[in-house]
Symmetry: C2
């Protein structure tokens, strides 16, 4: 009984993360009831997401028209301190916690069936190249900020091994975050502690 426009919208939006079929239908009704100008705003916001790509240095998201992302372009940040994170939202959480001030390497969402896939390998190779170009490698540091669960520990160990011959210090975020938890959902205090207590 629903018009195909609503059905189609609900079907497509219910595939997005954290949006179920019921919520997608409610959204469809809501957006359909908005004035034309508001709907246009939503459309534009959506289309503008097509103007994004990844920073060639740290793989964080950036506007296509910029050469580097906001972090890599910021000369006040410490280029010899790099946090390896899984996803963009982890960068976001660490920045919100404050107290970091280094750079990032976003390796991309991990797949349990293939701990270091093509994307991860390519991005970690770039990290290795960056570190190799540092004048005093032993003064730099890579903090592996993957979620501290069994799988994250395993991947962190692989990353540590991969960076061994560069001579750089590789640390792991402190166990301030409860084991089994997720970086993304940690409170700011815990996240700040985990950056301080790295080992």
């Amino acid at each position: 009984m629903l018009p195909p426009e609503i059905q189609n919208f609900a079907e497509i939006f219910s595939k997005l993360p954290a949006i179920g079929p019921r919520m997608a239908t409610r959204l469809a009704f809501y957006i359909a009831s908005l004035p034309e100008t508001d709907r246009k705003k939503i459309s534009h916001a959506l289309e503008n997401l097509g103007n994004l790509d990844r920073c060639p240095r740290c793989f964080f998201i950036k506007s296509s028209k910029e050469k580097f992302c906001g972090f890599c372009a910021d000369s006040r940040r410490n280029p010899f301190l790099i946090a390896v994170v899984e996803k963009e939202t982890d960068v976001f959480s660490i920045e919100k916690a404050g107290g970091f001030g280094g750079m990032y390497c976003v390796i991309g969402e991990l797949d349990r069936r293939n701990p270091l896939g093509e994307t991860q390998k390519k991005r970690l190779q770039k990290l290795k190249d960056t570190v190799s170009g540092w004048p005093e490698k032993n003064k730099g540091e890579i903090i592996v900020a993957l979620s501290p669960n069994t799988f994250g520990d395993f991947v962190s160990e692989l990353i540590k091994q991969g960076l061994k011959n560069t001579g750089v210090n590789v640390t792991r975020i402190g166990r301030g975050i409860p084991t089994g938890g997720e970086v993304e959902f940690a409170d700011e205090e815990t996240l700040r502690n985990s950056l301080e207590n790295r080992k």
Copy 2:
């Protein structure tokens, strides 16, 4: 540090119902990472919502190219049984519960400061006109299916009063739904009971 495209999207989407700023940001990252074709699909689904308007008889949503909504156009449904509901999602819930088979009159979201606003008055007048055209008014029935809370009861009473001179039977959904609850979130069994136990 976030590109303006992400910030803009998050700001606009966090105004939609049930989407907070955090979820809007996650959605932005997710959609930005999708292939062009998937993003286009989402855009089209969104734009197509502009091709909708309301059924001139029951005010349920419909494609602009259709004359009536799916319910009003369906000759198998009982045109002498009409459920008055607040919103589209209530129609959806009643349909999912099954066992109804009549028509609807969607009066639009109620405002507590103005129980029967312009929209409601216009739509209820249309309902009155429809009922006035029925050959045997006393065989028809209007079920007022507003949420059974104090405000809903009050508005239902106003609607009953307004339909008095038409001679039609006006009933209220049964108290299967706990007082203070919402039609939209009732389980199917409770909703079905409430349709049966109308009084």
